[in-house]
């Protein structure tokens, strides 16, 4: 049986091939009634739309550089980020080469950029030392995109999770549940994601008219061997906004040692949706970072650069969503400022 063409449909209905083409493509110029007729006839005759515009083949080779600190220590958040980036790249017909830096090396400079292995672009996942980043951006002959961090001094494309509004929304969950004494646990070393999340927490307090109490802000401490722990003070708020699931995990264990249970005695809202282990009470209510979208956005941005885009560097932040868990207890109380 020879292939049915649009001309066949046109002849069958007594209209022009132009009309059939436009009808099938959903363009204007065809009445709804006629479009229906054409579609039905196409079905009836067994018409298959073989017309597919071939995508521009990119076939770029993308280098992915990750610091050894993230890959060997702590959670596998960065492994997953790498996975998703490689996947996003391959969806766009690009190849990826992974390089993990030696964490004991003072200077982190990708071998991918030196030598003869040619890459067309570079994605750096996770913050690296400022001096190393400066050198990379200044000497690289290919475009560079930063994933999950950025540097305000060095002009480079970056893709971030939305720390500010994400933590704001996580803290809102606590306020919605009636809490008015809300503390914050975060990492404050240098300038990291933790800082923006701290301000997201402050935004929620300010907009809701809740007074900020610096005594309720704390961060992790380290043992001489470098293990993190949390000192739980006597005077605790009723809820804590925590800047990462990792810290929440340590907090929950520290609280349990003092006989304080979540969520009965204290509620927690967290960030990341990336827990190393399951907790005794269930799951954390947490803000989930959309890693897929971050990876896709970074790859997309890099492809644009590799194609020759010369716009000034862009910082994109990617929205996530709140994942409801079991770590927040509703408390009864007068709501001071009604949020519409």
């Amino acid at each position: 049986m020879s292939k049915i063409t649009q001309q066949d449909i046109a002849d069958a209905l007594g209209v022009s091939v132009v009309t059939v083409s436009n009808a099938l493509a959903g363009k204007r110029g065809v009445s709804e009634a006629l479009r229906d007729d054409i579609l039905r006839k196409a079905d009836e005759l067994g018409f298959h739309s073989g017309r597919k515009k071939p995508r521009v083949m990119d076939n770029y080779t993308i280098g992915i550089f990750v610091s050894g600190w993230y890959i060997s220590v702590g959670t596998s958040f960065y492994w997953e980020m790498y996975q998703k980036t490689a996947y996003a790249a391959s969806r766009r017909n690009c190849f990826t080469i992974l390089e993990i830096s030696d964490k004991h090396q003072k200077e982190e400079y990708p071998r991918l950029l030196k030598g003869d292995r040619k890459i067309d672009g570079l994605i750096i996942i996770g913050r690296i030392r400022k001096e190393s980043l400066k050198k990379i951006v200044e000497t690289a002959t290919v475009p560079v995109v930063l994933l999950d961090f950025n540097d305000p001094f060095i002009g480079c494309d970056s893709v971030l999770s939305d720390n500010y509004s994400g933590m704001f929304r996580a803290t809102e969950c606590l306020v919605e549940a009636g809490h008015r004494q809300i503390g914050f646990l975060g990492s404050f070393k240098d300038y990291t994601n933790g800082m923006e999340r701290f301000f997201g927490y402050r935004k929620c307090l300010m907009e809701r008219g809740i007074e900020y109490d610096p005594a309720f802000t704390f961060s992790e401490k380290f043992t001489p061997s470098g293990d993190p722990y949390i000192e739980v003070s006597e005077h605790l708020p009723t809820a804590i906004a925590c800047s990462s699931d990792y810290l929440s995990f340590i907090l929950v264990e520290a609280l349990l040692k003092k006989g304080i249970r979540v969520p009965e005695d204290i509620s927690i809202a967290s960030f990341d949706h990336y827990l190393p282990k399951k907790l005794y009470f269930g799951d954390l209510t947490t803000y989930e970072v959309d890693m897929d979208k971050m990876a896709r956005t970074a790859v997309k941005r890099l492809i644009r650069r590799m194609r020759g885009d010369t716009e000034p560097p862009v910082t994109q932040s990617v929205e996530g969503r709140i994942v409801q868990g079991d770590s927040i207890r509703r408390i009864r109380g007068r709501v001071d400022r009604e949020r519409p």
Partner: protein, 339 residues
């Protein structure tokens, strides 16, 4: 002379010729130009050729909430930009006010279809704060895409477009940092609960940490809010410990700061730099007085319409909050730091 002749001459199908001459999508610009040139040569009637691609006309209802003026007084300017942009991208705008009702029913917009020239409503743009219940019922009841501008409610699954005041401050601080300033003070209207003012204040503090102008405190219990406000500025002037620059939450505020400084015999930018924040419609000509963050309302308007068009024609789930970056305009109120 038929389309078939043009098709043969330009080496494409009749369908492509038809679409090209009618201004429909699906034909590249070069191809369209080539086909039009061939058509001309063959003597095809020029009046029938639509050179510009016409997008389908969309009907958008722009509803302003009467509840609160949340665009900080820029509603008129924004509406002006929106109308201009609508003409450019085949959108017909109808406007109205929303009086939200607490009983949870959708705000009454039946009047929209009562007007004679309103064909239909493909999408809704909401300006200004709207209670959660009303927002939800608006979206559910009218079953068209809804985009909110100038506010955001993360618990309702819609697109919200807003100015990114938090990140904007980073540009300001960077500009001052590059001029050599290190000691910055923030002056604002009463922040209260206003989300725009909250974002700008916190964005400023965040930028101070980012650029190392405040040391990150390893023991957060020692973290205190940096002092800000007109009283702080006055005190510093009286103590003779002038800051390098004053960052203001708006141009109006910046103007009153300049007046205050000049009243104390201080020159701007000679002795102290001042920055502001304002909304405008496009790249400004000439050199403005204030170095400010500029909210490009024309770009915001374009973004709102583009987003609505995408949701209406292609669907897709809402992206949630979309903070839009603004620009930083250099003016005369900031200058290099003098030792």
């Amino acid at each position: 002379m038929k389309l078939a002749d043009i098709a043969e001459k330009s080496g494409v199908s009749i369908v492509t010729v038809s679409n090209a001459l009618a201004g429909r999508s699906g034909v590249s610009d070069e191809m369209r130009a080539r086909i039009i040139a061939c058509a001309d040569e063959l003597g095809y009637r020029r009046e029938k050729v639509k050179v510009e691609v016409q997008e389908e006309m969309l009907y958008i209802a722009v509803l302003t909430s009467e509840e609160k003026k949340s665009l900080l007084g820029n509603e008129d300017l924004f509406m002006g930009c929106l109308r201009e942009e609508a003409v450019r991208c085949s959108v017909t705008i109808s406007t109205g006010f929303l009086r939200s009702r607490d009983n949870g029913h959708a705000p009454d917009i039946s009047w929209l279809s009562d007007r004679r020239n309103i064909v239909r409503t493909d999408g809704i743009l909401v300006l200004g704060e709207l209670p959660e219940k009303s927002l939800r019922s608006l979206a559910d009841y009218y079953k068209v895409p809804v985009v909110g501008y100038g506010f955001a409610n993360p618990r309702v699954n819609l697109d919200f477009v807003m100015d990114d005041g938090f990140r904007a401050m980073r540009r300001v601080v960077r500009h001052l940092f590059e001029l050599g300033h290190r000691d910055l003070i923030y002056v604002s209207e009463e922040v209260g609960h206003d989300r725009y003012l909250v974002d700008r204040l916190l964005g400023f503090w965040n930028a101070l940490y980012e650029y190392g102008l405040i040391e990150s405190v390893r023991i957060p219990e020692l973290m205190r809010n940096p002092e800000y406000g007109t009283e702080t500025l006055l005190r510093r002037i009286q103590e003779g410990k002038l800051p390098d620059a004053v960052v203001c939450s708006s141009d109006e505020r910046a103007a009153s700061v300049v007046a205050l400084l000049e009243g104390n015999s201080l020159r701007v930018p000679g002795d102290i730099s001042v920055t502001g924040y304002r909304a405008g419609r496009s790249e400004e000509s000439g050199e403005p007085y204030f170095s400010s963050c500029l909210i490009r309302l024309d770009l915001h308007a374009a973004r709102c319409l583009e987003l609505l068009r995408r949701r209406i024609t292609k669907g897709g789930s809402p992206d949630g909050i979309c903070p839009l970056e603004n620009e930083f305009i250099c003016g005369k109120s900031t200058g290099a730091h003098k030792d």
